[in-house]
């Protein structure tokens, strides 16, 4: 390796420069009508790379995930996990079921490039804010309907989210130990997040197409299908007639492979992909006879179930005589893949992740300091970034209605009175933190340059 390569890349990805760099999706406006995780994640990905995202919620109710934190642990009167899902967005609360509310949403859709929704199939159409209605006056719109089963097909109306999508797609049936009656789900709503990024990928493809042709389109983003797209098991089944089922910690495509317990009681994952890596492992183990053993020398033989299990036994014996840090050092020196099992605290404190920007300490006007996950992909010229954390329900109402739609203060007060637009109620997750003086917040009380300041408002 050229010695200066890492100083070259270090400059390319310098964390200190990020706020001064351009944003790739600047000028793209996204109307985010979605809730929970799947839809909001797709919109947040676009926000992170520069799109202006307007999230519309139901007044005095809000997104259910505002209040749903793990183990009921709140942080500054908010759900700490909600910040990652919805940061860098604008928060409007408009009631679509009121005629004037529907009108406002349609106006926002007219001024947008992308709409994202994840209600039950057909609901937005019944409300009059669906693709067939929006595309009439905004043919350039890219309208993404997200759901677990897709917009058509006999099961289209069934409810769904992460847990159900994992069950119905086959994902759930693959995790756990074959001799037990337990099937483990992939935690943390992976079945929402992963399809969420896939949805943003489809939206980006549609944006590329629109850039060339000027044409918008309708996207039917199906959560369960996306999970199925990530399984080679269907092709394997069809070609071989065999279901793989659960294989515990053995990855059937690698041998040896597993999560092993070390001498110091830690857990190390170790897996070998190529014949070259296997030779390296044998060197590290100081087992030259293994390296030439005909059962193991070539991947094709090594992977046979009986051989793979034998090999895993040999590796477990070896691993239990070493500490985790010894094993990682050997992996580095001999070039085979070995990683310690990392937990939440290790990840939050890992200097590598901090230096890379995968874990970020964000300073926020409302919530002060928070540690959260950085962008999914690191881009050297147009890096993703966290602009602000989430905001209380309806926080940007005034700002958006005046700035984008040109409404006057009196009109907004009427909308408030009729509860067409609204704010938070007493519930945790919707309101600002108690220490925060919302009455002096210039965005919440936004007044356009030509009007006199609205002054203190009472809700």
């Amino acid at each position: 390796m050229a010695d200066d390569y890492f100083s070259f890349t270090g400059k390319l990805f310098d964390q200190k420069e990020i706020s001064r760099k351009p944003e790739a999706l600047k000028g793209i406006r996204v109307l985010d009508l979605s809730h929970m995780i799947f839809g909001p994640t797709a919109a947040r990905f676009l926000a992170q790379y520069g799109a202006e995202v307007i999230k519309v919620e139901v007044p005095y109710q809000g997104d259910y995930w505002r209040g749903s934190t793990y183990w009921g642990k709140y942080w500054k009167h908010a759900n700490p996990l909600w910040h990652f899902i919805n940061h860098s967005k604008c928060f409007a609360a408009i009631d679509v079921k009121k005629p004037r509310g529907k009108e406002l949403i349609l106006k926002l859709a007219e001024m947008s490039d992308v709409v994202i929704e994840n209600f039950t199939s057909g609901t937005v159409e019944a409300w009059g804010i669906g693709y067939s209605q929006v595309s009439k006056f905004n043919p350039r719109i890219i309208y993404a309907s997200l759901s677990t089963y897709g917009q058509f097909g006999p099961m289209r109306f069934l409810p769904g989210w992460d847990l159900l999508a994992q069950g119905t797609s086959g994902v759930l049936s693959l995790t756990g130990h074959p001799e037990t009656d337990k099937f483990f789900k992939v935690p943390d709503f992976f079945g929402d997040f992963f399809p969420g990024y896939f949805a943003s990928m489809m939206i980006l493809m549609a944006l590329h197409y629109r850039e060339r042709t000027g044409e918008g389109q309708y996207l039917d983003v199906c959560q369960a299908e996306i999970l199925m797209r990530s399984l080679f098991h269907f092709t394997h089944l069809q070609m071989t007639g065999k279901e793989l089922g659960r294989t515990g910690n053995l990855d059937p495509t690698m041998a040896p492979s597993g999560i092993f317990k070390t001498k110091d009681g830690k857990f190390v994952a170790l897996a070998v992909a190529t014949d070259g890596q296997f030779q390296s492992l044998c060197q590290a183990m100081d087992r030259s006879a293994l390296a030439v053993d005909l059962r193991f020398r070539k991947a094709t033989d090594r992977l046979k179930e009986e051989n793979a299990r034998d090999l895993n036994g040999i590796v477990q014996n070896w691993v239990s005589s070493r500490t985790a840090s010894e094993l990682i050092a050997l992996g580095r020196r001999h070039r085979f893949a070995a990683s310690e099992v990392m937990d939440d605290v290790q990840i939050s404190q890992d200097p590598w992740r901090r230096e890379r920007g995968n874990v970020v300490t964000h300073e926020d006007e409302m919530y002060k300091t928070m540690v959260l996950q950085g962008p999914l992909s690191m881009l050297s010229k147009t890096p993703g970034r966290i602009k602000w954390l989430t905001r209380p329900l309806g926080y940007h109402n005034r700002y958006l209605l005046k700035k984008m739609l040109g409404l006057k203060e009196a009109e907004i007060r009427r909308l408030e009175k009729e509860r067409v637009v609204g704010y938070w109620d007493y519930r945790v997750g919707q309101r600002p933190p108690v220490y925060y003086d919302i009455d002096r917040d210039p965005i919440f009380h936004y007044s356009s340059p030509e009007e006199t300041p609205a002054g203190e408002r009472t809700r």
């Binding site: 890492f6 070259f8 890349t9 390319l12 990805f13 351009p22 790739a24 990905f45 934190t69 793990y70 183990w71 057909g122 019944a126 089963y149 917009q151 058509f152 097909g153 006999p154 109306f157 409810p159 159900l164 086959g170 995790t175 483990f184 789900k185 935690p187 943390d188 997040f193 992963f194 990024y197 896939f198 990928m201 980006l204 549609a206 590329h208 197409y209 309708y218 199925m228 990530s230 080679f232 269907f234 069809q238 065999k242 793989l244 910690n249 994952a269 070998v272 014949d275 992996g331 070039r335 085979f336 990683s339 099992v341 990392m342 937990d343 605290v345 939050s348 890379r356 992909s377 050297s380």
Partner: protein, 451 residues
């Protein structure tokens, strides 16, 4: 099914709705048709140099499904990923995971050690919009083929690098030579620590456990493809390329985002939770008479409905509100979970599903019941998934005919009204497209086409 439709699509049952949504119905009816439809990325050229690593080839598959011309270049002896396959099972010399991701690609061979082929690679890179590589950080650079050199040949190039720790940072440099796999990535990125049975269950069931599919690999692939598309969009507007860097060792945490925030605020790691849920109880799959069913009750009224249906109303006293059911008191939650396990074991999936639906219909009409809507579904294996009429109606499984492999079934998604994603062909022969690509891009080799 009819009863469920009644429960879950109340907005569509209102008078006049059918007429209102007919235009949309028209659009839906055209979604599975590919005839005459253009492709979103048909002007894009992608050079895929992934080696012994699926994430790169999956990322390029995504772009190929949207119409990009993807040229997969591998050394003459072939990419080792070809034989990374469950228990070594191959079809005509190719593993099933590789076959599954060989959609819509061109396969050529390039020998890194030959000056002629390094020149060929440069020529392709000069024309490419996106290049994807999975080698050790610095390896391409030391051959004169890294981002630093190729950006001079093609200032618009989007150079996507996938590695365990990335192409920058001190650790990235220190561990540059270490390979990665889906499994090690699942471990290091925080996934394995969260899967597995409760601490008091016997070893190895209490150990960290892998997700039984390429969870880290596919996440890394989506990160690469979305990163490439964001960068390529910037290129469309400015002509400028850039470098995109993906660290697979952070795949899971990057995807779901919770681990660093939880680690920092709670100061202690979450334990493995078996089949329980960190958020809510009951929320999971339970063993019933004929399989495993989901029982999910989000709101208080949903939970109360489940208690009524299962005849366990006496439990209500202790679990009245949502706050009771999202407690971190694991013993208490286990108690409730065991109650659910016991009662679910008496029924078949069909029975539970019908009870839930019937109750929901009654509840929707009664203000006293408060609209309780407990939710269930059945866990399916891949074989059962493939038998579902629903996926047949959606053309979720493409069937592609190949002279060597016969009929190959591949899951495909991405229904877009104008530019649907699609599988056009599969090709997996080493160097199978040498002639076509060499000619098309003016590459030269003394013995052209030989691999």
């Amino acid at each position: 099914m009819a009863i469920k439709e009644k429960v879950y699509s109340r907005y569509l049952q209102k008078k006049g709705t059918a007429r209102q949504i007919s235009a949309w119905g028209q659009i839906l009816s055209q979604l599975t048709s590919l005839e005459g439809k253009p492709e979103a990325l048909e002007d894009m050229v992608v050079l895929d140099l992934s080696y012994a690593n699926f994430s790169g080839s999956i990322a390029s598959s995504f772009l190929a499904e949207a119409g990009a011309e993807v040229i997969k270049a591998e050394p003459p002896e072939g990419d080792p990923a070809r034989v990374m396959t469950p228990f070594g099972v191959q079809v005509q010399g190719v593993g099933t995971p590789y076959l599954m991701e060989s959609r819509n690609k061109r396969h050529i061979t390039l020998d890194w050690n030959s000056p002629e082929d390094r020149e060929n690679l440069k020529r392709l890179a000069a024309r490419a919009d996106v290049l994807i590589e999975t080698l050790a950080p610095g390896e391409m650079d030391s051959r004169g083929l890294g981002y630093r050199q190729l950006r001079d040949v093609n200032p618009g190039l989007v150079y996507v690098a996938i590695s365990p720790y990335g192409h920058y940072t001190a650790r990235g440099k220190e561990f540059a030579e270490m390979p990665w796999t889906d499994l090690t990535s699942q471990a290091e990125s925080g996934l394995a620590a969260l899967i597995g049975d409760l601490a008091d269950s016997p070893e190895p069931y209490s150990w960290p456990t892998r997700a039984g599919f390429y969870a880290a690999g596919y996440t890394t692939a989506v990160a690469a493809a979305t990163g490439a598309l964001v960068a390529a969009f910037f290129k469309r507007r400015t002509g400028e390329g850039q470098m995109v860097d993906i660290a697979a060792a952070d795949a899971y945490s990057s995807c779901v985002g919770f681990p660093p925030t939880i680690g920092d605020i709670w100061k202690k790691p979450r334990p493995r939770y078996g089949t329980l849920d960190y958020g809510l109880c009951p929320y999971g799959f339970f063993k019933c008479k004929d399989g495993y069913v989901a029982i999910a009750c989000f709101r208080d009224q949903d939970f109360r409905a489940a208690l009524k249906i299962f005849g366990r109303w006496k439990l209500e006293e202790d679990w009245k509100s949502l706050l009771d059911r999202i407690t971190d008191d694991i013993e208490k939650v286990r108690g409730l979970n065991e109650e659910v396990e016991k009662v679910v074991a008496h029924y078949t999936y069909q029975e539970i599903s019908e009870k839930f639906s019937a109750y929901s219909i009654r509840a929707a009409r009664s203000k006293w019941r408060g609209g309780g809507l407990p939710v269930t579904t059945k866990m399916l294996t891949p074989r059962e998934v493939m038998d579902q009429e629903h996926w047949r109606a959606r053309n979720t499984f493409a069937r592609v005919e190949h002279p060597k492999f016969g009929i190959v079934t591949l899951p495909v998604t991405g229904k877009m009204s104008r530019t649907p994603l699609r599988v056009k062909w599969i090709s997996a022969d080493i160097g199978g497209d040498n002639e076509y690509i060499f000619k098309k891009y003016g590459l030269t080799r003394k013995e052209s086409g030989k691999s």
